[in-house]
């Protein structure tokens, strides 16, 4: 999900911890685990894609005291519901009917938009009641105007679309039900066996092949599947002898019971016997058993059809994937797609199995029973431009500067100042150490300097403390700015820019790199050239920042309970540390 500049992503180290264990096996892994401290996080590494998340997607396990990203949690499904009709579907239904809505919810096979049930008959303006509107009904897409008329399907009723649709094939022909199919198969099988007998008598094999051809052409995906599944069922039934432990099989001379007894007594030879035992199952040999023989004539007709009607009748790959039958080729084979169900899920920590988030199970409720957010445990970093020109005109920082600054056109080679704000959600003051590589990784090297990499951020105390204190001393916030409104004094190495109740701001100086290697005449008019050499999004300036926190927190209640020997330990405080990588997307470097 693209986010507007400037954005901040937080890296979850669950991925790193996994790679650290692997390298023992794989010698090709370049970074050995011991120089982990030396390694800087590269946001351009393809792997980083999978560890970077916006803060609101991250959870926090209070027991492991670690960030938990969507990749290091276990999800458990609470319930299933249709996103279109918002009906909950019981899990027993999921097992029997599959993960699609069985009501009237369908998506357009062409554009995925939800479909509406419409009457083909124009409503009679004279009739007053709504029931006057009559069928036939169709499913139609309000967005691309595709409708089931295009595939020749109309419905008699406007409810129970799923049942009706399962009985109508494209073109309006009825689809036989499973039972009818089974009956038909048995009938054909009998016919065939009779024919075979006759063949043996008459020695002519012309008629059966013709017959088979005809059957081939009309076989649908479902029929093929049912044929095949019936065949395999019969095969399994015939291959596996009747249950060796069944009470009916008490005949000691039967081979199955004999082999069972042999297995019981000779454990060494049993394995060999077992391997030899299963006779290979016969594969399907006729269409009635689910065999499809590739027919080159069908391909030829398909090619002829495309020749005649053009590419527009073929399907795109996404349209094909949406369909239940993946072998479709033409748009007249499309079927409306029943809406996929959605789930409500709770999340657990993968390490300690503690519940991290648990929504209320009711579909309509959006509340959570448990929700342990990273937002409440790690500081939020946010970046904002402090462009010197506007800031000098404006005595008060932060009024109009951020709006006029164009993050999509950072100027190469010109030092630009940004304000990095850390806000602390914890109830204890934190000491923060920031670290960043001096130049950004990647093709375009931008220089980054954090002017004040070590500072403190106040505790997230009561809001009113700040409100009261700031009303008493309003100068506090702008203390860095001189009385004449000049802020040059503010940008000073080793000093914070500004601070509030639970936030602190520091200045970052960034010198955006050049989109192409700097030669003496980089400022010439040939600006369009460099983009061709760069890959997509290579001109995005992203800076990795390592954040390390130190703070003293109350020993959590559980830990205290375990080691509670003296009363004096109640107000014991423990030193804690937290460290993680973040990536701040500053903006896009403008082509010169």
């Amino acid at each position: 999900m693209a986010q507007p500049f400037p954005y901040t992503y937080y890296s979850c180290d669950c991925y790193d911890s996994k790679t650290a264990s692997i390298p023992t096996k794989r010698s090709s892994q370049p970074p050995p685990p011991e120089d982990e401290d030396e390694r800087t996080f590269d946001p351009r590494n393809p792997r980083s894609n999978y560890s970077l998340y916006p803060l609101e997607h991250l959870l926090y396990c209070e027991d492991c005291q670690q960030i938990r990203c969507p990749r290091c949690v276990i999800e458990e499904t609470l319930n299933w519901f249709c996103p279109s009709c918002l009906f909950e579907v019981p899990s027993s239904m999921i097992k029997s009917e599959g993960n699609r809505c069985t009501r009237n919810c369908y998506n357009c096979p062409v554009c995925t938009s939800p479909m509406m049930v419409n009457s083909l008959e124009p409503p009679d303006p004279n009739t007053d009641d709504r029931s006057g509107i009559g069928g036939p009904w169709v499913l139609s897409c309000p967005y691309c105007h595709w409708s089931t008329v295009d595939i020749g399907i109309e419905f008699e009723k406007h409810t129970g679309i799923t049942q009706q649709l399962s009985r109508i094939a494209n073109g309006g022909k009825p689809i036989p039900t499973q039972k009818e199919r089974d009956k038909e198969r048995d009938r054909r099988k009998e016919l065939e066996s009779k024919k075979k007998e006759r063949e043996i008598l008459s020695e002519s094999d012309d008629s059966p092949t013709v017959d088979r051809r005809r059957v081939d052409g009309s076989l649908s995906h479902e029929e093929l599947f049912s044929n095949l599944s019936a065949f395999y069922k019969s095969q399994i039934a015939s291959a596996t002898p009747s249950n060796p432990f069944s009470p009916h099989d008490i005949n000691f001379s039967s081979p199955s019971s004999f082999s069972r007894i042999m297995n019981l007594y000779s454990s060494t030879s049993s394995k060999k016997q077992k391997q030899a035992k299963p006779t290979p199952m016969r594969e399907a040999a006729s269409t009635l058993e689910g065999l499809t023989i590739h027919d080159s004539a069908a391909d030829a007709t398909a090619i002829e059809r495309i020749k005649k009607e053009g590419w527009s009748i073929t399907l795109s790959s996404t349209q094909k994937h949406d369909q239940l039958n993946p072998n479709m080729q033409f748009d007249d084979e499309l079927r409306p797609v029943a809406t996929l169900l959605r789930t409500k899920r709770g999340k657990r920590c993968r390490n300690c199995r503690h519940i991290l988030s648990k929504p209320e199970s009711k579909i309509t409720s959006t509340r959570y029973k448990i929700k342990l957010l990273a937002l409440n445990h790690i500081p939020r970093l946010s970046l904002r431009a402090l462009s010197t020109t506007t800031a000098q005109q404006n005595p008060t920082p932060g009024t109009s500067a951020p709006l006029t600054f164009d993050y999509n056109a950072l100027k190469s080679g010109i030092p630009t100042h940004f304000l990095l704000t850390l806000s602390n959600p914890l109830f204890d003051p934190i000491r923060v150490t920031l670290a960043t590589p001096s130049t950004t990784p990647g093709k375009i090297q931008s220089r980054i300097t954090i002017l004040c990499p070590q500072f403190e951020v106040g505790a997230n105390t009561d809001v009113w403390d700040d409100a009261l204190s700031s009303s008493l001393s309003p100068v506090k916030r702008g203390s860095v700015i001189g009385p004449d409104g000049q802020i040059q004094g503010g940008i000073e190495a080793g000093k914070i820019w500004d601070r509030g109740r639970n936030w602190t701001r520091v200045v970052i100086e960034i010198v955006p790199g050049f989109l192409k290697p700097v030669t003496g005449l980089a400022f010439g008019g040939n600006g369009g050239v460099p983009e061709e050499m760069l890959n997509e999004d290579e001109d995005v300036l992203e800076i990795p920042i390592f954040v390390r926190l130190e703070f003293e927190a109350d020993v959590s209640a559980e830990d205290r309970g375990l080691s509670d020997s003296k009363e004096s330990e109640k107000d014991k405080r423990e030193k804690r540390e937290e460290a993680f990588w973040t990536v701040i997307g500053v903006g896009r470097i403008a082509a010169i």
Binding site: M1, P6, P54, L55, E56, H57, L58, L59, F81, P83, S84, C85, L86, C111, T112, S113, P114, M116, P123, P125, D128, P142, Y143, C144, R342, K347, S357, T366, Y368, K371, L373, L375, N376, R380, L381, S382, L383, R384, T399, S400, L403, T404, T421, S423, N424, P425, L426, N460, D462, V463, D466, A467, S470, R477, D498, G500, R501, N502, W503, R505
Partner: protein, 269 residues
């Protein structure tokens, strides 16, 4: 609720802008106001601004001379085009920016099933917008309509609390729940239902009658659900303090998508 804010909004004559025919339908607000003041207060719509409020500080609204900031906290731009004001309800602390078009004149014409026993004329509501909702510049809010028996019928639409509608949207949804963030240039076709905590990406077109379940991220033309919002969506920065005065010193913006928009509403002059 912030006690200071409550106290602030209580003083003076409360008046629910544009809400001439109906009482405010938010229980909290109505209880706040109806205790000591008449719920119906015919406010002059095009009041002149006090000179102080003519000084905009943000370029976003520099061309936007807002109507008199009402005690209900609604901020309605003078340059917005609002028709059928009697049929529009604003919940309070709602921002209608310049060039926004609210089509309140397209109200349900069908006879109300339950007529008022007191004999008072019931004015149908066509658009009702909740609290702390921001409608950005150039957006059009038009109630959905359907042709039935040769006649066009409009249906009342409802927008919840803390909904952000980006610039240049065109919205005909029948219902938008609370904490919904709608990106720029989005088109929402008639009778769409959007549930709580939904993010709609910019340039999305949501087809007719689509239902968007809560917690979805929606994008594309036609729209489809492309993801889920994280658990922390709408939770404001700085944790528990969220929305307080001190957080104003935060980052780029002191409000979060899908969160409480009170700070944003306050920052829009």
């Amino acid at each position: 609720m912030n006690p200071l804010l409550q106290a602030k909004s209580c003083q003076g004559v409360p008046n629910i802008l544009l809400n001439l025919g109906q009482t405010c339908n938010h229980p909290l607000l109505s209880s706040l106001y109806s205790s000591s003041h008449p719920p119906i207060f015919p406010a002059p719509l095009r009041t002149h601004l006090p000179p102080s409020s003519l000084l905009p500080t943000r370029p976003l609204t520099s061309s936007t001379a807002l109507k008199h900031p009402q005690d209900s906290g609604n901020k309605v731009s003078r340059r917005s085009a609002i028709t059928g004001t009697a049929n529009i309800t604003l919940g309070g602390r709602t921002v209608i920016q310049a060039d926004v078009h609210l089509r309140g004149d397209l109200h349900p014409t069908r006879a109300m099933p339950r007529s008022d026993s007191s004999g008072r004329e019931v004015i149908p509501t066509s658009i009702s917008i909740g609290r702390c909702t921001v409608i950005s510049t150039g957006s059009v809010i038009k109630p959905p309509s359907r042709v039935s028996r040769g006649q066009v019928h409009y249906y009342p639409m409802k927008i919840g609390d803390n909904v952000f509608v980006g610039p240049n949207c065109s919205i005909s949804a029948i219902s938008i729940a609370s904490h919904v963030h709608i990106g720029v240039n989005t088109t929402i076709h008639p009778f769409v239902i959007i549930k709580e905590n939904v993010k709609i990406l910019p340039n999305t077109v949501i087809p007719t009658q689509m239902v968007i379940p809560s917690g979805s991220v929606v994008g594309g033309r036609p729209a489809r659900v492309v993801g889920e919002v994280g658990e922390g969506w709408g939770v404001s920065a700085g944790g528990a303090g969220g929305g307080g005065l001190g957080v104003g010193g935060g980052g780029e913006k002191n409000w979060v998508e899908g969160g409480d928009l009170r700070e944003l509403v306050r920052s829009i002059k």
